[in-house]
Structure formats: structure tokens, C-alpha cells
């Protein structure tokens, strides 16, 4: 086993341990770093009866000190640097950062003097959720990936639709 494989194995085991510690009670703090509020709209809908994320053991909390997971939306405006860093530092470990939406992934403001352009520029992101906005279903899937309950399938997709058409 070469060193990089070894590291990957250790990282995988660490991620499993952390996911196990979160168990079925994970508290989410949302952080808006300059989004247009449509991502927030979708996040709010997660608590509606149709999606009902509380059944899965996810809860929203207004206090970063109570939060296990930071759900970040928006392109990370520079004016928000101090607040974002303070929020992250106030969270107890182990903590997970989830970048949500195309803005947070660098798809909307890649080069703009007022924003960093993506959340990864300031915070260590663990899970990326694409979409503009990501639907509540996509968010639920992303949260499940973040706590290791579902396997991610994006690496296996090609986005080539040859043959019978449709399907990635």
C-alpha cells in the first residue's frame, strides 16, 4: 500500500467515525454569504411536511455554538469575511461545511472584486451541492452524503448522452 492510498484509507475511516458520532441528531446552522435568497427558500422548504427533514434527525439551530454542520450559500462576499470566520470558529468540532448552490461553487461570480467567488476560498468545504437553486431533494441528498448515509454518485456520471438519449 503506497502512502497516498494509506492516507485515503485513514481519511475514509475518519469520515466514517465522524459520521457515526453525528448519529441521528445533526444540527444545521445556515450561513448566507450574499446569496439571492432562493437557496434559503429551498432550505426553508426542507422543514415543510413534504420533505420533513426532522424525520431524518436533521435540525436547524440559530446558534453556531450548537451547530454540527454549516450550510453556506452565496458567493462569499468579502464584507462577510470576519462574520464567516467567527461563525466557523464558534462551532464545536467535529464540524462539517457544506457549500450550497452554484454561487457557492464558483459558478455565478467567478471573477468579481467584491466576492471571493466560492466558499472554498475561505472555509474548508467538505461537501459541495450543485444547483441553482439546489432543490430540497438535492439538499436532502447532500446532507445525507455529508453524514455518510448515502454514497455520492457524481464521480460516476459522465454527462454524455449517446445512444438512446437522455440519462447522464
Amino acid at each position: 500500500m503506497n502512502p497516498s492510498q494509506d492516507e485515503a484509507e485513514v481519511a475514509r475511516r475518519l469520515r466514517d467515525t465522524i459520521a457515526g458520532q453525528f448519529g441521528r441528531s445533526l444540527h444545521i446552522r445556515t450561513l448566507d454569504t450574499g446569496s439571492c435568497a432562493v437557496c434559503e427558500q429551498e432550505i426553508r422548504l426542507l422543514a415543510a411536511p413534504h420533505y420533513d427533514l426532522h424525520r431524518l434527525g436533521f435540525f436547524f439551530t440559530p446558534a453556531p455554538r450548537h451547530a454540527d454542520l454549516l450550510l453556506v450559500t452565496g458567493p462569499m462576499i468579502r464584507a462577510f469575511d470576519v462574520a464567516a470566520r467567527k461563525t466557523y470558529e464558534a462551532m464545536p468540532g467535529p464540524k462539517v461545511v457544506v457549500a450550497t448552490g452554484a454561487c457557492a461553487l464558483g459558478g455565478v461570480y467567478p471573477k468579481d472584486p467584491f466576492v471571493h467567488g466560492n466558499v472554498g476560498a475561505l472555509l474548508p468545504v467538505d461537501v459541495w451541492i450543485p444547483g441553482c437553486p439546489p432543490s430540497p431533494l438535492a439538499l436532502l441528498y447532500g446532507l445525507s452524503v455529508a453524514v455518510g448515509r448515502l454514497a455520492e454518485k457524481a464521480p460516476g456520471l459522465t454527462f454524455i448522452a449517446d445512444g438512446d438519449g437522455g440519462g447522464a
Binding site: 467567478p110 459541495w128 454527462f159
Partner: protein
């Protein structure tokens, strides 16, 4: 008395697995495009790169580089080259690696 309540009392479980059944609303979700590589020419690729409002599409020689994370599913590429673009139907795209969202689409059309 609702049926799910009775079932829950009997089994002791009222929640369902994810997803309990395919969600009908998934058909209306914004979803990134997939590309038909044999219909894709360099000209069509350049047209799509030009209309893409973000950095989601770029061309590197005979490869169309598609950043799924940067895609806002606006559908402008499908208007610019309707033959080469098909709906992907994928929305469960969350990943732990940003680079896993950058896809290389080979450009196989145009007699090459």
C-alpha cells in the same frame, strides 16, 4: 384514523427510507444538461461556450469541459445547439470532491 398511524403503531416505524418512491416533482427540477458527443462539433461547442452565462462550459481542443457545479441549468446551451444537448435528469449531485464535478465531454462530431 390515518392509515400511516395504524401502520406505525403496528410496526413501530413511521418513517420511510430515502427515497420511499420516485418523487414525481423531480421531473420539474432544474437539472444540468448532458451532451450527445457524436452530434457535438467544435463550432457547436464554441456557440455553447459563448452563450453560457457562467464559467460552466469551456473548450480544450476536442474536449468540451463541463463544470457541473458551476452550471445553473439555464438551458441556453440547449437553445444554441439543440441537437447536441439532452436533459441529464440528474439532480442528486452532491459530492465531497469539487473536481469530481468537472466532466470532460469528447467532441466526436464534424467528421473527426
Amino acid at each position: 384514523m390515518p392509515l400511516w398511524f395504524v401502520r406505525g403503531l403496528r410496526r413501530g416505524v413511521v418513517t420511510t427510507r430515502y427515497p420511499a418512491r420516485p418523487d414525481d416533482s423531480a421531473a420539474w427540477l432544474p437539472r444540468p444538461p448532458a451532451f450527445r458527443s457524436w452530434q457535438l462539433t467544435r463550432e457547436a461547442a464554441d456557440r455553447m461556450v459563448a452563450v453560457c452565462p457562467g464559467p460552466a462550459l469551456s473548450r480544450r481542443d476536442d474536449t468540451l469541459v463541463f463544470d457541473v457545479g458551476a452550471c445553473t441549468a439555464c438551458g441556453r446551451c440547449a437553445e444554441a445547439a439543440p441537437d447536441a444537448v439532452a436533459p441529464s435528469g440528474e439532480f442528486e449531485l452532491a459530492t465531497t470532491s469539487r473536481s469530481a464535478l468537472i466532466k470532460d465531454i469528447p467532441i466526436r462530431g464534424g467528421g473527426r
